[in-house]
Every structure is written in C-alpha cells, then in structure tokens.
C-alpha cells in the first residue's frame, strides 16, 4: 500500500479518504509484544472505561437537565444550593475509584522499573540526530541513521511504506531474553521510544537511565525519538528487530566480524593514498549523511546557528585544525566528535570534500594517514 500524496487534496476527497483510509492507522494504543506492554494497555483501557462511565453519567445528567430544565418549558427555578451529604458523597466515590485504579498501576510500575537479572545489555546513546547502540556483552557497536532519502522528504520521490520509520542499521535483540537498555546522550536530551515494548525513557547527557523488555515474538518494531532534540527531532527513528536466540547469535558474530574487518582495513588504508575522485565521492556521501543536516548541503550553514563551511577560514587554511574539529568536535557547540562515528577513510574523504566543494577549491587531498597522525598527536 504505497501511498503517494501530492498536493491534490480537495475537501470532499479528503473527508472521504479520512473515513475510508482510517483503517491504516490503529485508533488505539498498541497492545505491544511484551507482557509489560500488555499490562500497560490493560491499564489504559481500564482508566479509559472508568472515564467513559463517569462521563456518561455526568454528561447524561447535564443533558437531561438542559432538555428538561429550560425556561422555554415554563419551569420555575428551584432555589436549593447546598447539601453537605451530596458533597461528601461525590468526594468519597471518586477517591474510592482512584484507589481501585492506583493498585494495578503501582504493580505494573514496579515491574517496569525492575531491570535486574538482564540477559543482554545494550547501551543506547542519542545524539543529534541518530542513535548509537553498543552491546556491552560483545564487541559490537554501531550508529543507526534515518534511511529515508532526502528526496522523499522534499516530495521529489514517492514516499515508501516505512517513510521516516526506517534506518540503515536496526538494533537487533534476541527473543525470550530480558534485554536491558541503558540510555544516555552525547548532547541534548533525547527519548528512546518503542511503542510495542511500552518503553520510553529519556536519554540524558551525563546520566544513565534504565529500561527493559522481553520480546517473545520475532519481528520488526519501529519507534521514534520522543523528546524535542533540535532541528531534526522528527528524523531520528528507531527500528528494533527481534530474532530467535540462534539467529541473534549468528547476527552478533557477523557484526563482530564486520567491525573487526573494518578495523583491519583502517590499518591497511594508512599506507594507501586515495585519488581525489574517490575521496570526493565518499566525502559527498558522508557529508550528506552526517554533516548536511547542520552545515546544509550547500555548505552555507544556517546563519546564527550553524556556521558556513563554504569560504570559511577553517575549511580553506589550517588542515590539522580542520581534522581536529571533525575528530573531536567543539565543546560548547552542537559540533560533535566524529572520531568514533566515522572511519578514517570517511573522515579523510569528508574533509577533502569540504575543502574542495562549493568553490572551496583548495585542491588539497587529505588521506587517512593524515587523520591518523592528528589522532595520534592527540594521544588517542
């Protein structure tokens, strides 16, 4: 059901569509796929029905009164205006209802907060505007970025089924195991939310929060950042794939291998020189994925918030300074440290790109070895 929506809405088709297509969107909270999410759903429905019943009674009486007790019917107004008995009654009844409601809510909350005896622990780190996952029991870590192409967002291409809810590398967890999530952030506050797990926890910079989920059904579960975290808050989705423990093991080993291989390649690269063409093409790709959100695709930045790279002294002169800021970020600003996010090759390429794109024609090439040298100088 790929839906492409261009500016062709008219009011009648829209109202019609709203009734026909509504099945696309669930109208209620998800029951989710964990025991906890089911309990949360039950709490939600209980309190919802309590509200409905109270609403029906109160509004029922009110509308009855509106129909019957109107001057147009020639009624004479009564003059009563006090009754201590009634007041006590309608104070006490709500208190009792609330106590009944508080008991299951308390039980569920205590269960949700019990993160002990976890089988797998994943450190989830938010940063503007992507998630980083690190498996504390294995040597596996990676960034997870929005995979929806820019062209879909600016309405040049038709939007895919999972528009804005797709990432390049999803988090993978085993089914039937208690997975503990540790949340933190590199910059501002983010919030990691997967509705199907009923897990929403803020990722606070400098602090660690905990949450957990035990997923029984293999499947793909999608969520989004829930705390306003700046310009691209709407563009940092979460995708979690739950796999059977055997598949999960296989995936973890594969990932560990991939990461080890990439590290080995890094070392080989130090002795190699890449061509301008290759650096520029890798650089452009990396720039678009990691840098363009702030510095903009045209390198002009956003005046007053994100500095321009086009024609900037940093990108035209001092090469080590340029490498340093990309590697280590700039304290007190939104500029992140990319040393751990990107490979040496990507960093070399993106710096070459920044020094040769948009009329910054320095003609200078930066190689992986140059980046490595600055890194070593910093005592990495």
């Amino acid at each position: 059901m790929t839906k492409t929506r261009s500016l062709r809405w008219s009011l009648p088709t829209l109202l019609l569509a709203a009734t026909v297509d509504a099945t696309d969107m669930p109208l209620n909270m998800t029951k989710g796929v964990t025991e906890i999410s089911q309990q949360v759903y039950d709490l939600h429905m209980t309190i919802f029905w309590i509200c409905c019943v109270i609403g029906a009674v109160v509004f029922g009486i009110m509308f009855w009164s509106i129909v019957r007790h109107r001057k147009a019917r020639g009624v004479q107004p009564a003059q009563f205006h006090e009754s201590t008995k009634v007041e006590i009654l309608w104070t006490a009844i709500p208190v009792l209802i609330l106590i009944v409601m508080a008991i299951p809510a308390t039980k569920t909350l205590i269960a949700m907060e019990d993160t002990t005896e976890a089988d797998v622990t994943v450190l989830v780190t938010g940063s503007q505007w992507k998630w980083h996952y690190k498996y504390l029991d294995n040597d596996v870590e990676f960034y997870s970025l929005l995979a929806t192409p820019k062209e879909q967002i600016i309405n040049r291409f038709a939007k895919g089924d999972n528009y804005l809810l797709e990432v390049d590398r999803p988090l993978v967890i085993p089914t039937g195991k208690k997975v503990r999530f540790l949340m933190t952030s590199d910059d501002v506050i983010h919030s990691w939310w997967v509705p199907a797990f009923a897990v929403k926890k803020d990722a606070n910079p400098g602090f660690i929060n905990e949450a957990w989920a035990r997923v029984d059904e293999p499947g793909v579960y999608r969520g989004q950042c829930a705390e306003l975290c700046g310009k691209d808050h709407g563009f940092m989705p979460i995708v979690v794939i739950a796999k059977s423990p055997a598949d999960y093991e296989q995936w973890v080993n594969g990932e560990a291998e991939r990461i080890a291989k990439a590290k080995a390649e890094e070392q080989e690269l130090l002795a190699m020189n890449m061509s301008m063409e290759e650096l520029m093409s890798v650089g452009e790709r990396t720039y678009t994925a990691y840098c363009a959100a702030c510095h903009q695709p045209n390198g002009e930045g956003l005046p007053g918030i994100f500095p321009a790279l086009k024609g900037s002294a940093l990108a035209l002169e001092n090469i080590p300074g340029h490498i340093d800021i990309v590697l280590n970020g700039k304290t007190g600003t939104a500029m992140q440290a990319y040393a751990k996010q990107l490979s040496l090759k990507e960093i070399a390429a993106v710096i070459t790109y920044e020094r040769n794109a948009w009329g910054n024609n320095t003609g200078e090439l930066v190689q992986a070895a140059d980046v490595h040298a600055v890194m070593q100088g910093k005592g990495e």
Partner: protein, 527 residues
C-alpha cells in the same frame, strides 16, 4: 469604548486626556482592563497565525512550506504567546475590569503599578517577536525550553527570549500583587470573605500562585542565561550540573502555571451558570475549598511531566498518587455546576453556550489528564499527540472558551450595548464544531504513536493530520466572527440595562451599562 457615557454624578470626575495619552497615562482599572483584553486578542491572533503555519506544514507528510528549524520556532513561539500573551493577559484584563466592580471598590489598589504592569507587556512580546527575524531565528527549543537544548545548543536569540520572559514575569507579579492588595483592602463593608463572588475567590488564589511561581520561572531562565553566556553549569553534567534539574525547576513553576490558566476560568463559569439557570450556585463553600485544594496540590505534582526522565519508583508513585488526587476537587467543581443547572430554568444565550461547552470539553481534558496520571500508561502517552490533545482541551476549550464566555457575558456591561446574539451563536457553533475537529482526532493520532513537535510524520498519520489541519483552519476562521461581534457591539446595538441578564446577581449588575468611568466612589451597601 472611547465614547463612554457617564451618569451625571460622576461626570465631573471624568478627566482624562484625549487620544493616545488617555491610554498611555491611564490609571483607571476599566481602561487598563480594556487594554489587557485587546492586547490578549491581538496576541491570540498572532499565536493563532503561527498555529496555522504549523497545521499547514502538517497537512501532508513531507516538508512543504517551512524548514524544520522554522517549524520548531513556530511551535515554541506559538506556545509562549498563547500562554503568556493571550490567556494570562486576558484573565488579568477580566480581573481589572471586574474585581473592583464585584467587591464594590472604586479602582484597583495600586493604580500606577497597574498602568506599568500593562505597558511593559507589549515590549516583552515585541522583543520575543523580533527575535524571529534574527539570523538563525527565534527560540526553537519548545516553550518548555529544556536544557541543554536551550543552553549549549540554542541560537543567539536565547538572550532576547530570557529578557522577554523576565519582563512577562515582572508584569504578572505586579498584576498579582495588585489583585491581592485590592481584594484584601478594598472590599466594600459587609463584603465578607464568604460573600465574595467566585470569580474574585478564584482570582485571589490564582494571584497567590502567581506570586509563588513566577520568581521560580525568573530563576530558571536566569540559570539558562548564565549557563549559556557566563560559563555556569547548572544544567551541564560536565560541570557538575544536571539537565533534569532544569525540568524540576521549570515544572515547579509550570504546573501551578497550568492552574493559573484555569482557576479564573472556574470563577467565570461559576458566575455564568447560575445567571442563566436562574438558580444560586450549588455548593459555594465547597467551590472555595475545592479551588484552594487544587492550588495546594498543584505544588505537589510537578514531576508528573517528567515520568520518563528516570526517577526512583517511590518518587514516581508519589507524583502519580498526588496527580490522581487532583481529580477529586476538580470533580467536585463539575458536579457542583451540574447541580446548579439541575431544576433551574435555563436559557441558552452565547455566554451560557460557551460555559456549557467549557464544562463538557474541559471535563474531557480532565479525563485525559487522569489517564496521563497513570505512570505506566504515561510512558506510552508522554510527548505524543495524546498530550497535545489533552492540554489543548483544557487550554482552548477550557481557558479560551471561558474567556470568550466572559467576554460575551460582560460585553453589555462594558459597552452598554447588547452584542448580536445571532452572530454570537454562529461564532459558538462554528468554534465548537471546528475545535473538536481540530483536537479530538489528536487523541487517536497520539495513541497510534505520533510524537509531538515533529514537522513531518509517517504515512499512517496522513489522513488524520489532514483532517486536523482543516479543523484548525476552520477554528482560526471562526474567530474572525468573534472580532466582528466585538467591533459591532463596541460601535452600537440594542441598549443594555443595568442588570443585562434576567438572572444576573452581584454588584457589577447594579451599576449602569456601560459602567461609568468611575464606580463605587462611595462603598455600596452589602445586603
């Protein structure tokens, strides 16, 4: 209201400069009340225009009209303007106009401060609005300005934002002091505490809340300022601070602030319902106690905005229980209003229609509030459109509807003319239908999982958002009818009697309509 006709005994006191000087120099509570109300209306339209930008962008998935950074500025400034520029000044305007007339006082107790507390407001909002034109734009961190997004990661306009919030705060504190001093000192002899109209009671309690929490807001914006510009680390873990501390301080202000925006509304509805039911308010004393309990509880529930920040279970439980408790006094109020209607002889003029809509729709907002109190469920609702639906039900169909009801209710007293009932009914029905098209579907969108404050969304939310946007445009357009009614009523119309409404009781209905420039220079006799 420039052509105020006064009755003869007051005529010789009626010295006031002509033209703009009258409004600049005035210390008259009615003039100042009028200025507050007109200012609030203008801000309502400016904030509303920003909401239209938001709804236009969200009409379809994909980015169409604005950049994400500008979208965030719109949500931020829309919130700030509606809270501090529209709802709060409108209530202060009503307080200025009505409190002295309701308690038989000649004016507010501190008239010069009254002038000052109004006249700094336009400058506060000018500063805020001008910041939108700076390089990098205005504040874009949400009206709740969570650190470190508002400190390390904010734009250059943050200093202007902080300055503007300071001025708004000073204005509110001065207004609140004036209300308290007036009520304590200028009540007519015989106007005992438990004879005061509920509007006066609710405003008195509101004023105390304002005095207690506005300095907290001033403190937290100052900490944001020094963190950003002077190297302090209140909210920066790297310097020994804590970003969550910001939220504790902010919501210690922010939750009572929510009640600041609704308690006067309770007072208004408690005035209107008895008038049109032609029956005394049911449970006056319990209304006073319920309002006071809500005010006290408002200081004990702030962290329910922060369940997902990660707090100890004991903390979360405490805040959950206290929040659930608020439903009790709020329920008492709703039950009392319904009991007031019961066996009355009701008529349904525009003020009554808006008051009835308030009771139903505010209660719906209360229900979603009760749902949000349930911490485990809050984890699913938090920061989604469910919350957006919730607080717009209490603030738009709650606070704003009550202000509109109050305007219709007291317009004849202010202008001396009856408003156009037919147009008013049109305004009511258009607003009622469109506001529910606008906010009711947001509940579903939120439950389905759409986060708030995002400029673009997944395809499943598309149909609902298109529908919501249409509701939004219609609601915006409906408010133009209101302006039409107001202008028409100010210019002329059927002469209003002193009592205006058949069932109206209270001192404000004993003075002629329009109310003379000076009222109760000698205190009235309270029966």
């Amino acid at each position: 209201m420039s052509a105020v006709v006064t009755d003869h005994e007051h005529e010789h006191h009626d010295h006031k400069p002509a033209g703009i000087k009258r409004w600049l120099y005035t210390t008259n509570h009615k003039d100042i009340g009028t200025m507050y109300l007109v200012f609030a209306l203008i801000m309502f339209f400016i904030g509303g225009a920003m909401a239209m930008v938001i709804r236009a962008e969200l009409f379809q998935p994909g980015m169409q009209f604005v950049e994400p950074n500008f979208f965030n500025q719109m949500t931020t400034v829309h919130g700030l303007i509606m809270v501090f520029g529209a709802v709060m000044p409108a209530f202060t305007g009503l307080a200025n106009w009505m409190i002295p007339m309701m308690i038989g006082a000649p004016d507010m107790a501190l008239p010069r401060m009254n002038n000052w507390s109004f006249w700094i407001l336009p400058f506060a909002f000018l500063i805020l609005l001008m910041s939108l034109f700076m390089p990098g734009g205005g504040p874009s961190f949400g009206w709740t300005f969570y650190a470190p997004l508002s400190t390390t990661y904010s734009g250059d306009s943050t200093a202007l934002f902080v300055f503007s919030v300071h001025i708004m705060g000073i204005s509110s504190i001065m207004g609140a002091i004036n209300v308290i001093v007036t009520i304590f000192n200028l009540r007519a002899p015989g106007m005992t505490w438990m004879k005061m109209p509920l509007f006066v009671w609710t405003w008195l309690i509101t004023a105390f809340l304002l005095i207690m929490v506005m300095p907290v807001l001033a403190g937290v914006v100052t900490m944001v300022l020094t963190d950003k510009y002077f190297g302090t680390s209140f909210f920066d873990a790297a310097g020994g601070g804590d970003p969550v501390l910001f939220q504790h301080i902010f919501w210690f202000f922010g939750h009572p602030e929510v009640y600041i925006m609704i308690l006067p509304a309770f007072g208004i509805v408690s005035s209107i319902v008895p008038t049109f039911a032609r029956k005394p308010l049911f449970g006056y004393a319990s209304m006073v106690y319920a309002t006071s309990s809500i005010a006290l509880l408002s200081f004990l529930v702030w962290a329910h905005h922060m369940f997902t920040t990660g707090m100890p279970v004991a903390g979360a439980l405490f805040f959950m229980y206290c929040t659930m408790l608020i439903a009790v006094p709020t329920g008492v109020k709703v039950f009392n209003w319904v009991a007031t209607m019961w066996r009355g002889a009701m008529t349904f003029e525009v003020p009554m229609m808006f008051a009835l809509a308030f009771i139903v729709l505010f209660t719906i907002g209360g229900f979603s509030g009760l749902m949000l109190a349930i911490t485990p469920a809050d984890f699913q609702y938090h920061d989604t459109y469910f919350v957006v639906a919730h607080f717009h039900y209490v603030l738009v169909t709650g606070a704003v509807f009550s202000i509109i009801a109050a305007a219709y209710y007291w317009l004849p007293k202010w202008t001396g003319h009856m408003y156009d009932e037919k147009l008013g009914q049109w305004h009511f029905w258009c607003s009622l239908i469109s506001v529910n098209m606008l906010f009711f579907p947001m509940h579903f969108v939120g439950l389905a999982g759409m986060p708030r404050r995002i400029p673009d969304y997944a395809l499943q939310f598309a149909d609902f958002n298109a529908f919501i946007s249409i509701g939004g445009f219609l609601f915006g357009a409906s408010q133009l009818i209101f302006v039409w009614v107001l202008v028409k009523c100010a210019r002329g119309g059927k002469k209003a009697t002193a009592q205006v409404w058949e069932g109206a009781e209270g001192l404000e209905w004993e003075v002629p309509s329009p109310a003379p420039y000076h009222t109760f220079e000698t205190p009235p006799v309270i029966k």
